[in-house]
């Protein structure tokens, strides 16, 4: 049986066929045929955001929490360009997102038509792949291929630009397979380029694992550094077994947090610019570092010339282009973190590293900061942990609060920490948390933002109310763009240029959105207020009036060495 279907209907069917259940989007002229067809496909739940950036971040949050593709939709021109930040964030953090944009009709393309932008061109460097659909008969295959590419190998965003006349075009539809699939559009044609085949050849993969095991056996001061790849490949049990079999202490990067239980005796914490002193000193003293699923980002390494000067590095990554990109490696193994770690577990001899762990313990510094009303980041985060019985997903924004959460929140469950790491996009937390809720409807999700980042996407509270998304929002209000203010304090003679930031009355704001709003000034109020917010059936907003000029310590100055942290306000700044 064949039937006549429009491109828009085919698009919807292809999404349903790919298993899509949720779409975050915003309509407009060039995508109207799609929106016209959408109600005929009730399996596709559409979430109407308040800004397309939020649609992309929400799709990203959904993808990270579910491991499935997050889908966002926008119209041409401004709708499409509004997606860009969200796609860049997804690209930098290897998150599988498919963006569908409307485009002006084919005869208008290239004529600077109303709301025409070259979104394929604009997003080339921030997508794994993108398409301008020129023939409606290709549409279903392109959608299927895009969905596959987004999750294949190292995940990432894919964009599909669909001209309005292609959406309106009707063709005889005999199902996806029957349509004229261009043969070179086999999803695996793309996947071939993705270093999917582990190792250069099977032999060298085994060689790599053996070499890594030998390095581990001979090491006196070994470390495991685990990143986002461990979460993407769900290698939690394997990494834990490797650590426990060898006694090697574990460092989790910003995006690797929650890949290893925080309270585990072998867990050291986060490295890098705001890593604890003992973590960075462990790196600087290590003789072997086994890095799994991370890219040795500059925020992790500081100045690479002085990074881990004594260490021979084993680098395990799915993306071959990462190996040796940022730091020289002794052994590089290309492959899935879970698969390779499992092989490594089998190849290593049981051992202990007690003296080394003891040595690292000697580096630990006790924190001495004090906070107004005892409202320390620790106290706030402890109250969220307790109110949610340690069972919620935390989504953070970008800035000081993000670093406090990364360092202080006692993550126990895998993949319960979600943040914009690579791009560091302020405004991420609130919309991404909406996506997390839809991926984990039974769980609680807290979006933790600063007063700056919250104001970037706070309009999404309306989305939460309209769509029934019970996101709990925490605003760490310090009256400043805190992280930038900290840099100004340390490196710019305390010249607080354009960093004091005014906020509305958040309690009244919440009320205006018909959301319960709370303000916390003292630590003594925490348990009660956070408990109530957490128990709300719908969204809730809690503002924490925190110390205005608190800093995140320690700090490696940008481009500095991990060996030289700033542990207190620099003397020059402290004097005036």
């Amino acid at each position: 049986m064949s039937e006549m279907l429009s491109g828009a209907a085919i698009l919807c069917r292809a999404l349903v066929d790919a298993g899509v259940e949720v779409i975050f989007g915003y309509p407009g002229g060039a995508i109207m045929p799609f929106y016209h067809a959408l109600p005929d496909h009730p399996r596709l739940r559409h979430i109407l955001v308040r800004h397309e950036q939020a649609a992309a971040h929400a799709a990203d949050g959904y993808a990270r929490a579910s491991g499935r593709v997050g889908v966002c939709v926008a119209t041409s021109g401004p709708g499409a360009t509004n997606l860009v930040t969200g796609l860049a964030a997804a690209y930098m953090d290897s998150s599988p997102v498919v963006a569908i944009t409307g485009q002006v009709s084919r005869p208008m393309i290239g004529r600077d038509a109303f709301q025409e932008t070259d979104i394929v061109g604009i997003t080339l460097p921030i997508t794994k792949q993108n398409y301008l659909v020129e023939d409606v008969t290709d549409l279903a295959d392109i959608v299927a291929e895009a969905m596959a590419i987004a999750v294949d190998g190292r995940p990432g965003p894919v964009l599909i630009d669909v001209p309005k006349d292609v959406q309106n075009q009707k063709i005889e539809w005999r199902g996806a397979q029957a349509s004229g699939a261009a043969s070179h559009r086999d999803p695996r044609a793309g996947a071939r380029g993705q270093s999917l085949t582990p190792g250069a050849s099977p032999g060298s993969l085994e060689d790599g694992v053996r070499a890594a095991a030998r390095l581990i056996a001979g090491a006196e001061r070994p470390l495991l550094m685990v990143g986002h790849g461990v979460i993407l490949s769900e290698a939690y049990a394997e990494v834990r077994t490797l650590a426990e079999k060898t006694g090697i202490p574990v460092i989790t990067t910003l995006l690797g947090i929650s890949a290893f239980p925080d309270g585990h005796p072998l867990h050291l914490g986060m490295p890098g610019m705001h890593g604890e002193v003992h973590v960075n000193r462990a790196i600087q003293n290590a003789d072997v570092i086994v890095g799994i699923g991370l890219r040795f980002d500059d925020r992790v390494t500081g100045n690479t010339a002085s990074f881990a000067p004594q260490a021979r590095i084993v680098h395990i990554d799915l993306d071959r282009a990462e190996i040796g990109k940022n730091v020289p490696v002794a052994v590089g193994i290309v492959g899935d973190a879970r698969d390779i770690t499992r092989r490594l577990v089998a190849a290593v001899e049981p051992r202990r590293c007690e003296r080394w762990v003891e040595h690292i313990r000697g580096f630990v510094r006790t924190r001495t900061e004090s906070y107004r009303g005892d409202l320390s980041p620790e106290a706030i985060l402890a109250s969220i942990y307790e109110a949610s019985h340690g069972d919620c997903t935390i989504v953070t924004d970008v800035g000081q609060h993000q670093m406090w959460v990364a360092k202080l929140y006692p993550y126990q469950r895998p993949n319960t920490h979600i943040t914009s790491g690579g791009l560091g996009a302020m405004g991420f937390a609130v919309p991404a948390a909406m996506g997390v809720h839809l991926a984990r409807p039974a769980g609680t999700v807290w979006a933790i933002s600063g007063d700056g980042g919250f104001q970037m996407n706070m309009a999404e509270m309306a989305t939460m109310v309209q769509e029934g998304l019970p996101v709990k929002m925490a605003v760490f209000n310090n009256g400043y763009l805190g992280m930038v203010r900290q840099w100004q304090q340390f490196f710019h003679e305390k010249r607080y240029s354009c960093t004091p930031i005014w906020s509305p009355d958040y309690v009244k704001l919440a009320e205006a959105y018909s959301i319960p709003g709370y303000r916390v000034k003292e630590a003594s109020e925490l348990a009660d207020v956070v408990g109530r917010a957490n128990a709300e059936p719908g969204p809730a907003l809690v503002e924490f009036l925190i110390e205005q000029e608190a800093n995140v310590y320690p700090m490696i100055p940008p481009g500095g060495s991990l060996s030289e942290p700033i542990e207190a306000e620099p003397a020059a700044a402290a004097g005036d």
Binding site: L124, A182, H184
Partner: protein, 97 residues
């Protein structure tokens, strides 16, 4: 300038890429070069003999590490089928998958 090690010598590398004959794929490939601002000396695009596949050949001036990174970056692109780097001393390496 004492203490600063001399940058590795730049030499010519011929890079041969087999890729889908789609403009978007070509554009993406050039994006890799543009982003790193690698100087290009020669450039040619020809049919490869296989339908739907083009052969892109260019000469870039770079140190061997940069040339290798460019090759790796190209190699992982969707639509790129193979990448060969030929150094000016005639040794060749194939970007491994």
């Amino acid at each position: 300038m004492s203490g600063v090690s001399a940058p590795p010598p730049h030499s010519a590398h011929t890079v041969a890429v087999l890729l889908d004959d789609a403009l978007v794929t070509l554009n993406r490939a050039f994006g890799v070069l543009r982003r790193r601002n690698v100087p290009i000396e020669g450039l040619a695009l020809h049919p490869s003999g296989t339908a739907g596949v083009s052969r892109l050949t260019f000469v870039l001036k770079a140190d061997p590490l940069t040339a290798d990174r460019v090759a790796q970056q190209l190699h992982k692109m969707i639509g790129v089928r193979s990448v060969m780097v030929l150094a000016n001393d005639d040794s060749s390496t194939e970007a491994k998958r």
